[in-house]
């Protein structure tokens, strides 16, 4: 018996055999999935892959306003259609069908758009599994799943583990003590997570964990100090830094903060004269963003600094997108929500660098006289937005700084 899915917070677990049973039981397909239960989310994803229909995966807990910006009505969340049973013959049959899939399948995920509306990105199985390593040597790996399940990094971890028939220990959103206990109880050997996740976890690790063999950091700028702490916390592990994007999947990997372009991707990834990382369109998933394409190249918006002839460091982003704990946040989207609050005359959302989560969102507000600051602040904390999009610091000012062209200044 091999476990497929173990939840650190609840202790609930499913074996690969139970996964097959659950897949065989499905008689209705769902084109749009918004699941609070990550196991059910991935069951639906696998079902769509095997049954051959396209699927869209959304974050759970999106408000009606957030759905409206994605042009999705709440009714669509419950849509389904009848399907023939999969009749899987067992776990090996399931794995064979996925490993030998013809690739004619798409899953759409959403990423924060630059215009205030989340951007839909359609992935093929090939882009999700491009960096997956499948071999007998990975047969005994045990993966900690520490990313948001409906985001691209979560899909990378899922397929890496699933294709090797590894147990997946779901730790995203679990408490520190539960995560540490789950690592030990289930013998986790591989972790991939944001630096924010590791910073949160380290205080709970009372003694070094020698079972973990691979620690991967992604989604945020790498931090050498954190890397030192990770080596102490996981003395048997190799620490790795990866660069991936929702639009292109996993692209670069390194053992420290410096990246170089691997031989197989030379000619497909380059650095522009303006020091921006560019990705050839042949590596991309499908998405609608004409503005970010120049000729055959996708402009990632990630700026680099060369440290020698072949190595570079990712330094910052060209756009106004703010990275909060590994999530890209569009300040315009948040400003639009805050402007709807009674008593808010104007607002600008900016970032303050923070060593724990990368950036903390700050809202500067010009308020009307008839409402108290405390009431407006209280309304901001209750905004129908995902938790990482809520500004944690609210400041009241008499006027907002403007540039000569009338744009608000994000300091």
């Amino acid at each position: 018996m091999t476990y497929f899915w173990i939840e650190a917070a609840s202790g609930n677990a499913k074996t690969y055999d139970e996964l097959v049973e659950d897949l065989n039981r499905i008689d209705r397909g769902r084109p749009l999935v918004c699941e609070s239960d990550p196991y059910r989310l991935y069951v639906q994803v696998l079902h769509s892959l095997l049954a051959g229909y396209e699927i869209v995966c959304l974050d759970d807990g999106l408000s009606e306003e957030e759905l409206a910006r994605m042009e999705i009505s709440p009714d669509q969340l419950t849509e389904s259609f009848p399907v023939q049973p999969l009749n899987l013959g067992g776990v090996e049959d399931l794995l064979d069908r996925v490993r030998n899939h013809d690739g004619n399948w798409h899953v759409s995920l959403y990423t924060s758009g630059t215009t205030g509306r989340p951007k839909q990105v359609r992935h093929r199985l090939q882009t999700l599994t491009r960096e997956a390593k499948v071999s007998e040597s990975h047969r005994n790996d045990v993966w900690a799943f520490a990313y948001h399940p409906a985001h691209i990094a979560g899909f990378h971890v899922f397929f890496q583990a699933f294709l090797n028939r590894n147990p997946i220990v779901f730790v995203f959103g679990a408490e520190g003590d539960q995560i540490v206990r789950a690592f030990t109880d289930h013998g986790v050997t591989h972790i991939s997570a944001t630096p924010t996740f590791y910073r949160h976890l380290l205080p709970y690790l009372k003694e070094p964990n020698v079972q973990v063999r691979r620690v991967t950091c992604g989604g945020e700028r790498f931090d050498e100090n954190l890397a030192d702490l990770l080596v102490q916390a996981f003395p048997s592990a190799r620490v790795r830094n990866v660069y991936a994007s929702t639009e292109a999947g996993s692209l670069l990997s390194s053992t420290g903060q410096y990246f170089s372009i691997p031989e197989k991707l030379k000619g497909l990834i380059k650095i522009s004269d303006r020091n921006e990382l560019l990705v050839h369109q042949s590596l991309l998933a499908d998405f609608n963003s004409a503005a970010a394409i120049e000729g055959e190249w996708y402009l990632t918006g990630d700026l680099v600094e060369w440290v020698n002839d072949s190595q570079f460091l990712l330094t910052s982003r060209k756009s106004e997108m703010i990275n909060v704990g590994g999530y890209k946040v569009n300040p315009h989207e948040i400003e639009a929500e805050i402007r709807k609050i009674d008593g808010v005359k104007d607002v600008v959302v900016s970032a303050k660098e923070n060593r724990l989560v990368g950036n903390v969102l700050i809202a500067q507000i010009v308020k009307a006289e008839h409402r108290a600051e405390a009431d407006i602040t209280s309304d901001i904390y209750k905004l129908p937005l995902q938790s990482w999009k809520i500004p944690r610091v609210v400041q009241y000012v008499n006027e907002l700084s403007m540039t000569k062209t009338g744009k608000l200044v994000r300091t």
């Binding site: 520190g176 003590d177 924010t196 996740f197 910073r199 949160h200 380290l202 205080p203 709970y204 100090n225 954190l226 702490l229 909060v324 704990g325 303050k352 923070n354 060593r355 724990l356 989560v357 903390v360 700050i362 904390y381 938790s387 990482w388 944690r392 610091v393």
Partner: protein, 78 residues
């Protein structure tokens, strides 16, 4: 100073529906008060804007309220 620190911690804890009325130096921010990374970041920014010190600058594992007092020079510890 301690009053300000306690006020910020209490405000965040209450927003997270923690049933608590008073902050104790022995409280663990993560375990007793349920602070996640975003809550800790908010605390850091608010304390830094007041006292000019990043409480996590030298040690990322700061956790007890008494440690926060100590870093900010707020007198007695637990």
């Amino acid at each position: 100073m301690k009053e300000f620190i306690d006020g910020v911690i209490l405000e965040i804890a209450k927003r997270n529906n923690q049933d608590i009325t008073e902050i104790s130096p022995s409280h663990s921010l993560r375990r007793d008060l349920g602070f996640d990374s975003f809550d800790l970041a908010e605390l850091t920014v608010k304390l830094e804007s007041r006292f000019g010190i990043d409480i996590f600058e030298k040690k990322m594992t700061v956790d007890a309220v008494s440690e926060v007092y100590e870093i900010l020079g707020a007198g007695e510890t637990a």
